[in-house]
Symmetry: C2
Subunit: 209 residues, 2 copies
DNA sequence: GGACTTCCTAAGCGCTTGCTCACCTTCGGA
DNA sequence: TCCGAAGGTGAGCAAGCGCTTAGGAAGTCC
């Protein structure tokens, strides 16, 4: 699936292969790590540049402001997340199978790329208003994917869900929160968490036998 | 045991009735609002003092540092959350009834006091190391409450749960994330969300069909 | 060799930050 | 009436912030 240039990284290395030139990519990866570790506002431009092995001024050759870095990270991260959801949605199978695949894939991403996911999910309010609006629009499309599958499942009788909006919220909520607690040194792999959560979500919505 | 003197009324004011003197309480409430809105690191001491209607220097009569304010908020918030969980756990009823009550009460608190809950759940890393350790110990006790009920339910056959640790994590995760997305202007009341989530969690763990 | 481009650094500017300090006001008790 | 404690303020300090600027090293084309 993803090309691995390093093993067991927090998800901050290989996923940014499209960012060029190389110095700009190094700065962006450094920013993801720093933002995830300390938060956007607690991270200094000197820290980001230092992690990338460059002087503070070098940052401003590739990015106009510190906020532009956050925006780029947030945009690329949301694009990737939405892509994962849509790919899982468009697979073959029953509503239940597609819902399980969506949850499995989304959870897997939040666990394996938890460094990026933490920035994506918890630093939204640090964006400038116009950038925030752009990202919020992307998030609504993610919500819509889950909602569509729930509606499909209810229509064909596979699911028994009285409050589709609330349940959509709960399913996404469960997936997103993985970014907060997931720890590489923990006992569970991204695959295991994905499988576990897919099973739990199916039990939440499936119609009784 | 912590004294639970007040019934929360929706704002971030009434829950802090035990904090004295009055100026110290006003500063604390102002800090909760500011931290929840912008985050700890983006909040200035001038902003906190301003919201409390005082000069920046007044803050340091009642608190040694800005971090002490965060610590006090985090400590009081976690005490309250743990109290709510334990009260729900110790009620009468089957394992399923007690689990439903725990989820209902915990979710209700995260929704109604979402301002406080946001600080409590998402600003842990901004605490000084020794304060962080103290809070982490409290959180482990919260985890234990949910875990005990799941174990009880599995033992007496009410629940069918293969991975108790992972399911404990998922249940708590679902509750905690409410603080992130809940909005007073939204269409759901804290009571409604609590009921919905209690039902979803029961379906996640209940045995049989 | 000289001019141009690309990418980087050392130094530092203007401003904001958490926090302090000298001093003021209010007020209950002797 | 005077006193000391408690609770407040205005001014400002040292440090750190995001960001800029002047200039240099390295490669490329003529």
């Amino acid at each position: 699936m993803a090309t691995a240039e390093s093993v067991g990284d927090g998800g901050s290395g290989a996923a940014w292969a499209g960012v060029a030139p190389e110095a700009a990519r190094r700065l962006l990866v450094a920013a993801v790590d720093a933002f995830a570790e300390r938060g956007y506002h607690a991270t200094t431009t000197r820290d980001i540049a230092g992690r990338a092995g460059m002087s503070p001024a070098a940052l401003y050759i590739h990015y106009k402001t510190k906020e532009e870095l956050l925006h780029r990270i947030s945009r690329l991260g949301h694009d990737r997340a939405l892509d994962i959801l849509r790919r899982a949605e468009s697979g073959a199978g029953t509503s239940a199978e597609r819902l399980a695949e969506v949850v499995r894939a989304f959870v897997h991403w939040h666990a394996e790329q938890h460094t990026t996911a933490r920035v994506v999910q918890y630093e939204l309010d640090s964006l400038a208003p116009e950038h925030r609006a752009e990202i919020v629009a992307l998030r609504r499309q993610s919500d819509a994917v889950v909602r569509r599958i729930l509606e499909d499942g209810v229509r064909d009788g596979e699911f028994d869900v009285s409050d589709i909006g609330g349940t959509t919220l709960a399913v996404l909520s469960l997936c997103i929160d993985v970014a907060r607690w997931f720890n590489e040194e923990g006992s569970r792999s991204p695959d295991e968490v994905g499988d576990l959560y897919a099973g739990l979500v199916l039990r939440m919505v499936r119609a009784g036998a």
